[in-house]
């Protein structure tokens, strides 16, 4: 078996922005003193005149982004997911989403795989915060290919977008020429016994779990829900009904994120057994990304075990 290529979605973000810098003179990129980490620095290198560092002041950064957008600019505002969606939440609410301005909020270092920096820096509520805002679109790329596509689509779309990015190198799942569809779930592995709805890095973990279970004769479908809002509710219902059981898998609190969005869809519409898998309403802590995934039950082995628990309820 050939080695799978791994690229962090934040790296793909920086690269995609740098690419767009040459194509689209209307794009501005902002950061809050973390451009080396969010990789927005890649844009700054090729287009310093349209890169704006707001310093360690996320609230003002989002306000400035809204003002730039009100003048017709397309703005990507980047920082760690914890800070940009948390500290600047109300600026995103009132200065971006309420007036539906063309600002793309990019939160890198999402989830627990931030690793050693610990619980203060690991965003586990960002999807929840962002998807609760009217006018907001929420995108979570599973790999570098999806990230590039999302950056380009977000730039072409007129309105607020939240883009959730990761620090850890993630396996490249999609071919360069893969055709994604905005707002549509994506089947990455066919299966018939149960479907795993995953997002971000967890799509890869779900694929590993599916492989483990295949050896035991269990057929697991894996779906990449890259657009969490607007959610592809038809797809989710159809896949759940077809397989007769489902789990959600996310590097996020099980309260308010992808799992909650799916539960909202299934409630009253499907009687199939369903389990939300993710961070179980706890803060993270320091550790290696791999150790943290195992500790919080987001590794392939634990996921496989949970899948079997749900299958037992069928």
């Amino acid at each position: 078996m050939t080695e799978i290529k791994k690229i962090a979605t934040r790296d793909a973000y920086g690269k995609a922005l740098a690419e767009l810098a040459k194509e689209n003179s209307n794009i501005f990129v902002m950061d809050a003193d973390l451009s080396q980490s969010t990789k927005s620095v890649e844009f700054a290198k090729v287009c310093p005149e349209r890169f704006v560092n707001a310093g360690i002041a996320e609230g003002n950064m989002i306000g400035v982004a809204a003002g730039l957008a009100a003048m017709g600019k397309t703005v990507f505002a980047s920082s760690f997911a914890v800070f940009v969606t948390g500290r600047a939440f109300e600026q995103i609410r009132n200065s971006v989403c309420y007036p539906r301005l063309n600002v793309k909020v990019a939160g890198s270092h999402s989830g627990i795989t931030v690793g050693e920096d610990g619980g203060t820096h690991q965003a586990i509520a960002d999807i929840s915060l962002m998807r609760s805002l009217p006018n907001m679109t929420v995108l979570v790329p599973a790999d570098a290919t999806a990230t590039r596509w999302m950056v380009r689509e977000a730039a072409a779309y007129d309105g607020p977008v939240y883009l959730r990015l990761g620090r850890l190198a993630a396996p490249v799942l999609y071919a360069d020429n893969h055709e994604f569809k905005w707002g549509k779930g994506e089947i990455v592995r066919m299966g018939k016994d149960i479907v795993v709805f995953a997002c971000g890095l967890m799509v890869s973990i779900a694929l590993e779990a599916a492989e483990l279970l295949a050896a035991e004769g269990i057929s697991v479908a894996v779906a990449d829900i890259h657009t969490i809002k607007p959610l592809d509710t038809d797809f989710i219902l159809e896949m759940t009904e077809r397989c007769g059981a489902a789990i959600s898998l996310e590097e996020h609190n099980i309260i308010g994120g992808l799992g909650s969005a799916i539960a909202e869809t299934l409630a009253g519409n499907s009687a199939a057994p369903f389990m939300r898998c993710g961070v179980e309403d706890k803060f993270g802590q320091s550790g290696s990304p791999e150790a943290l995934l195992k500790h919080y039950g987001l590794d392939a082995e634990t996921t496989a075990m949970k899948i079997k628990q749900v299958l037992a309820r069928k």
Partner: protein
């Protein structure tokens, strides 16, 4: 369109419309609307490059009402300039009205930015000023803040930003009316000394009487000549200015006059000419 002798007469009509619309809506913020009236009157009647027939023209001056609760003052100015029919002012804060409790850039013609959450407007004005500079526009971005509003940390993030990026096309006013909802800012959480703070943050500061239209005009002229840094015009004002029983009363921050009070207020607001 109605014609006005000068900004003072325009301001008087604004005050009458503010009282009328607040009485019609039964809620809203008279105190901070009346303290900001003369500043908004000078900007909209005398200074700003805006066109009611073409409210979105790209090179227009922009106005961000960072103290969004003074929306009635902004709406009065826009209606008197025919951005929309003046009769619509009576629909303030009513369901389905384009006149929201706080300014909405998509609903009301002539409103450049949605505001209302204090501290955020000045940041958006910074973004507008930066975009205008990058585009080589020669317009001016105006912002109006309250004194209580400067208790918000975001205001000082924006202050640093504007100075760092040398936004000399940004002219901000501080409506220094010495009252916020819970009392005098000095007693609630003192933001003083405001002049020294803005200077220390790298802004040129001009201090004026915010009800003297000649001083307001002179300050804007001086501010426009400034190069390399933003300008803060600290305007000493009286909350509730023009209505005797509302002046300097914190209670009139967010309470609308009833019909009788409105009638009395209007009777105090008549044009005596020059």
């Amino acid at each position: 369109m109605m014609k006005f002798a000068n900004a003072d007469e325009f301001a008087l009509h604004m005050r009458r419309e503010i009282i009328k619309m607040l009485a019609a809506s039964g809620s809203g913020h008279p105190g901070g609307s009346l303290s900001a009236t003369d500043i908004i009157a000078v900007l909209f009647h005398d200074e700003m490059n805006i066109d009611p027939q073409d409210p979105h023209k790209p090179d227009r001056d922009r106005f961000v009402l960072s103290k969004g609760h003074a929306a009635p003052a902004l709406y009065a100015a826009l209606a008197l300039l025919d951005f929309f029919p003046i009769e619509e002012l009576s629909q303030l804060r009513k369901l389905g009205s384009h006149l929201q409790g706080h300014p909405d850039m998509h609903k009301t013609p002539g409103v450049d930015m949605s505001t209302g959450s204090l501290g955020q407007g000045i940041s958006t004005a910074c973004g507008m000023a930066l975009a205008a500079k990058k585009d080589g526009l020669h317009n001016t971005i105006y912002a109006l803040l309250g004194d209580g509003e400067t208790e918000e940390g975001e205001v000082w993030e924006a202050a640093m930003f504007a100075a760092h990026y040398q936004l000399d096309n940004l002219i901000a006013f501080l409506d220094h009316n010495h009252l916020q909802i819970d009392g005098n800012p000095k007693d609630v959480l003192s933001p003083e000394p405001l002049n020294e703070k803005w200077r220390a943050f790298g802004w040129k500061v001009i201090e004026i009487d915010g009800h003297d239209t000649e001083q307001i005009k002179a300050a804007i002229k001086e501010a426009k000549e400034e190069q390399g840094r933003p300008v803060m015009i600290i305007a000493e004002t009286v909350k509730g200015k023009g209505v005797s029983f509302m002046e300097n009363q914190a209670g009139w921050h967010g309470m609308a006059p009833n019909a009788e009070q409105a009638e009395q207020a209007i009777s105090e607001l008549f044009w005596q000419g020059e």
